[in-house]
């Protein structure tokens, strides 16, 4: 079923992601390389199976944000002896049901969907505000995705759908400016501070077809991203090459603050 023509169409990266990564990391002085994400659609599950069979699955469960943190090379949560450059996650590999459900692997468990879970955490004024807020968190259709592939962008085994970047606000500012200043306008950010990496950085850019920012979320900061100065941006991958070009060819956005060495 999966022949060379299909591989060419579905899998083969269309851009030189290694080169793009190297340019953006150098320009923005990023501490970590960006992470690419590819969501395997359930309807074509069998077709993709063969293409990704060499990508390791984690040894034990982990959250989506831990998987992202693992492949970017900060902390290895995969349970594998060596930090992997790419990870392949099936529904049963997820430790966080909300993250997996947001990414379309299955439906949200009812107590999360109906707002009860967040309400019990005493975050909301009422069960109703909790339910409405949960309803508005971007998520993909339940069961529409069979696997999630996360990988170091320069080693992309497939054309990514979304690129995740992390940095201090000054670095994200530079990114945002160059994203907007070619086409003009403003960027309305889709933000709550819950489901930061899965929904705000991955699903929102996919669904809304534009860059989105995230301050990450309590879960991501507790389980994976421990540097409190970091925030994230999710960029539709098809916009990434243009963004890098803008960054290199246009006037720098002045950064009046010099980044401390330990944050570079």
């Amino acid at each position: 079923m999966a022949g060379p023509l299909l591989e060419e169409q579905l899998i083969k990266p269309k851009h030189d992601w290694k080169d793009l990564t190297s340019k953006i990391v150098k320009k923005l002085k990023l501490k970590y390389e960006p992470v690419g994400v590819f969501l395997v659609p359930s309807v074509h599950k069998e077709r993709y199976e063969k293409f990704f069979e060499d990508i390791p699955r984690p040894n034990g469960r982990l959250t989506y944000c831990q998987a992202v943190e693992t492949v970017r090379g900060s902390t290895n949560y995969s349970g594998l002896p060596e930090p992997p450059d790419a990870l392949r996650l099936k529904a049963e590999d997820f430790m966080c049901a909300a993250g997996a459900a947001n990414l379309g692997l299955y439906d949200l468990p009812e107590p999360i969907k109906n707002g009860e879970r967040d309400f019990l955490l005493r975050r909301f004024y009422s069960l109703e505000t909790s339910r409405i807020t949960r309803e508005k968190i971007p998520r993909l259709e339940p069961g529409s995705i069979s696997e999630v592939i996360v990988f170091k962008l320069p080693k992309a085994p497939v054309e990514p759908q979304v690129v995740l970047m992390f940095g201090v606000p000054a670095q994200i500012l530079a990114l945002e400016g160059h994203y907007l200043m070619k086409k003009g306008g403003r960027l309305n950010i889709d933000l709550l501070g819950t489901c930061g990496v899965c929904s705000e950085m991955t699903v929102s850019p996919l669904v809304n077809r534009k860059m989105n920012f995230s301050l990450l979320c309590g879960g991501a900061r507790a389980h994976a991203f421990h540097d409190p100065t970091e925030m994230g941006a999710g960029i539709p991958a098809e916009e990434f090459p243009d963004l890098v070009e803008n960054l290199l060819n246009r006037q720098n956005i002045p950064m009046r603050q010099t980044l401390p060495e330990n944050l570079r």
């Binding site: 359930s42 034990g60 049963e92 430790m95 949200l108 019990l120 955490l121 389980h223």
Partner: protein, 81 residues
């Protein structure tokens, strides 16, 4: 949808007995009533009279509320926090 994965509840939950202070927060926050507070047998320290146990781990929906709320990081789900 041709192949919908169905979420299956259940988790391996362990509670570090040395860390658990029996504050009851996990009991109150869990939407599936996985946890229960029990008395520590023979405990003479009044601050350690109770502890939490995961009585129904098969009901866990992996919402991770317990991990978020535990003040002493005593709870592990699938060995992780």
């Amino acid at each position: 949808m041709t192949d919908v994965n169905i979420f299956k509840p259940g988790a391996e939950i362990t509670i570090d007995d040395k860390k658990c202070i029996g504050c009851r927060r996990c009991v109150e926050v869990c939407p599936e009533d996985v946890y229960e507070l029990v008395k520590r047998e023979g405990e003479t320290n009044p601050n350690r009279e109770y502890k939490s146990i995961a009585l129904y781990p098969e009901k866990c929906i992996l919402c991770l509320s317990c991990l978020e709320i535990c003040p002493t990081n005593a709870i592990y789900i699938f060995g992780k926090q």
